[in-house]
Symmetry: C2
Subunit: 80 residues, 2 copies
DNA sequence: GTGTGACTTAAAGTCCGTC
DNA sequence: AGACGGACTTTAAGTCACA
């Protein structure tokens, strides 16, 4: 599932860019650290609402997040 | 949940553009018609995997879908 | 500071139908 | 053709101990 994998990568990138640990993001989002870990590794099939919660906790606008996701998906497309 | 609502609108737009009924899309995607109905109305909190399945069944690339989603989210942002 | 397996309980997703 | 409901099955949400 490429959408899931792309989302995982983008979420991790934004988190690191924000200088946050999974633990800090967990506190700010109210979502368990181990769940965030699973999402970033692409092993959890997250819902849109949970995704939105995490994105907002990262201090990123939904628009910005989706734009970055789009850039990643374009690259994947260019590879195959 | 704005991500959910934006997704709902974009999905419906793409389906109508493709000239498909919810029932036809349900058959092509293997996802229940009542569920697709709920997603398009924004009352269902879909997972990324299911979303990907529906998008692909619409004959739309993930990249294109996410790009359109981004455009909708930008507009929402401009309004508030 | 993160990955992972195992677990419970909420909710995703299906299938039947009616309006 | 699509909204909506009820009962059902499967899986995501959410948490823990431990590596």
């Amino acid at each position: 599932m490429i959408l899931r994998q792309a989302t995982a990568l983008v979420l991790r990138d934004f988190r690191l860019e924000a200088g946050l640990s999974q633990e800090q993001l967990a506190r700010q989002s109210g979502i368990d650290r181990t769940y965030i870990s699973g999402v970033e590794r692409g092993v959890r099939n997250i819902t849109l609402d949970s995704l939105e919660t995490i994105v907002l906790a990262l201090g990123v606008s939904q628009s910005e997040f989706v734009e970055t996701l789009h850039n990643h998906l374009k690259m994947v497309k260019a590879v195959d």
